[in-house]
C-alpha cells in the first residue's frame, strides 16, 4: 500500500512539474499541432470529412471528458471494492 502511495505521488509530480517549469504556454492539444504540421508539409491538402458531432464550446467538451473519466473511475472503484470485499470474506472464513 505504501508503495502504491509513493507511485501515485510520483505520478502527480510528473504531471505538475511541466506546469511549474514551463511558462508562456497554454498546453494546447498535440493533435491540433498535428493539423498545423500537415498543413506545412502538404499545404494543398483539404480535410475531406468532418466530424459528425462537435461539442459546442470548450465547456461542453470538458464535461464530456470528465464524464468519460468519471464513468471509468467509478467502475474501477466498484470492482476493486468487490475484490476487497471478497478477500475480506475469505479471510474471515478462515
Amino acid at each position: 500500500m505504501k508503495r502504491s502511495l509513493f507511485l501515485l505521488v510520483f505520478a502527480v509530480l510528473l504531471v505538475v512539474a511541466p506546469l511549474l517549469f514551463i511558462h508562456h504556454s497554454d498546453f494546447g492539444g498535440t493533435d491540433d499541432q498535428a493539423e498545423k504540421t500537415i498543413q506545412v508539409i502538404a499545404p494543398h491538402y483539404k480535410p475531406w470529412a468532418q466530424t459528425i458531432f462537435e461539442p459546442p464550446g470548450g465547456e461542453v467538451e470538458t464535461l464530456l471528458f470528465s464524464v468519460q473519466a468519471a464513468v471509468g473511475a467509478g467502475i474501477i472503484g466498484y470492482i476493486i471494492g468487490v475484490y476487497k470485499g471478497r478477500a475480506n470474506q475469505r479471510d474471515e472464513a478462515k
Binding site: A34, I41, A42, A49, T51, P55, I75
Partner: protein, 246 residues
C-alpha cells in the same frame, strides 16, 4: 530500490526537465478527414481482421471464464479513464495516455483490441477527438500496436524472470510510446516530406512528440503498477488463473 538509485533518478529528471526545450509537438489521434481516402481504406482493411480476432477472443474468455468479466471491465474502464486525461507535458503541449497496457498484460493483446476501439469510437462520436474515417488508423496504433507491444514485453519479462512490477511498468510505458510511434508513421506515410520523403516526415512527426509522450508514458506506467498492486493484493486468485493461461 536503494536510496542512491532514487537520487540518481531524480537527478536525471531534473536534467531532463531543464534541457527539454519547449517546442510544439503533436501526437494523439489522427483528426477526422486528415488521412487521404486511400490510406483510410488501407488502415480500415488492416484493422478489421484484428477486430474480428479480438471479438472472438473476448467472447471466448467471457464464455469459458465468466468470473473474469469483472477484470475485463476493469481493464476497459482503465483505458476509459486514462484516455480521457489530457496531461500537460514538458514540451508545453498536452497529450493523453492510452491505458491499454494493463488489459494486454492480463488477457493478452486481443481483448484490448475491442476495448481500445470502443474508447476510440466514443471519442470520435462524442468528443470530435479522432474520427470515424481515421478510426481504422487510430485503432491500429492504439488498440493493436499498443497492446501487442505491452504483451510482448510482458512475455519477455516473464521469460527472463524480471521483477513483475518492473515488467508491468515497462509494458505500459512502451505500449504508450508505440501507439504514438505508429501514429507518426501513419502520418508520415500519408504526408511524405516534399524533399526528404517519408523518413524526413516521420522524423518531423515523431521527433518532437516523443518528448511530449515520455513523461506521460511514465505516468501511465506508474498508474498501471498501482492498479496491478491492488489486484495482486485482493484478487490474487484471478491473477493466478490468468497466469496459467485462459
Amino acid at each position: 530500490m536503494k536510496k542512491w538509485k532514487y537520487a540518481l533518478f531524480l537527478c536525471g529528471l531534473v536534467v531532463y526537465f531543464t534541457f527539454s526545450e519547449s517546442s510544439s509537438a503533436f501526437a494523439m489521434h489522427i483528426m477526422e478527414g486528415f488521412l487521404p481516402v486511400g490510406w483510410v481504406i488501407f488502415w480500415w482493411l488492416a484493422f478489421l481482421p484484428f477486430l474480428i480476432i479480438g471479438m472472438r477472443s473476448l467472447i471466448r474468455i467471457t464464455r469459458e471464464h465468466p468470473e473474469l468479466k469483472l477484470l475485463i471491465a476493469l481493464s476497459g474502464a482503465f483505458t476509459f479513464v486514462l484516455s480521457a486525461l489530457k496531461i500537460p507535458s514538458v514540451t508545453g503541449s498536452s497529450s493523453h495516455p492510452t491505458g491499454v497496457g494493463l488489459g494486454a498484460v492480463l488477457f493478452g493483446p486481443w481483448t484490448m483490441v475491442v476495448m481500445g476501439s470502443i474508447v476510440l469510437l466514443f471519442q470520435a462520436l462524442l468528443l470530435a477527438h479522432g474520427g470515424l474515417t481515421t478510426l481504422g488508423a487510430n485503432a491500429m496504433s492504439m488498440a493493436v500496436a499498443g497492446p501487442l507491444v505491452a504483451y510482448g514485453i510482458y512475455r519477455f519479462g516473464k521469460k527472463w524472470n524480471i521483477s513483475r512490477r518492473w515488467t508491468i511498468f515497462f509494458a505500459a510505458f512502451f505500449s504508450d510510446l508505440a501507439t504514438y510511434v505508429v501514429t507518426s508513421l501513419q502520418l508520415a506515410l500519408a504526408f511524405p516530406d516534399a524533399t526528404g520523403g517519408i523518413f524526413a516526415s516521420f522524423v518531423k512527426f515523431a521527433g518532437i512528440f516523443a518528448i511530449t509522450q515520455i513523461p506521460l508514458a511514465i505516468t501511465e506506467g506508474l498508474l498501471t503498477v498501482v492498479v496491478w498492486n491492488f489486484l495482486s493484493t485482493y484478487s490474487s486468485r484471478e491473477l493466478t488463473q490468468l497466469e496459467r493461461g485462459v
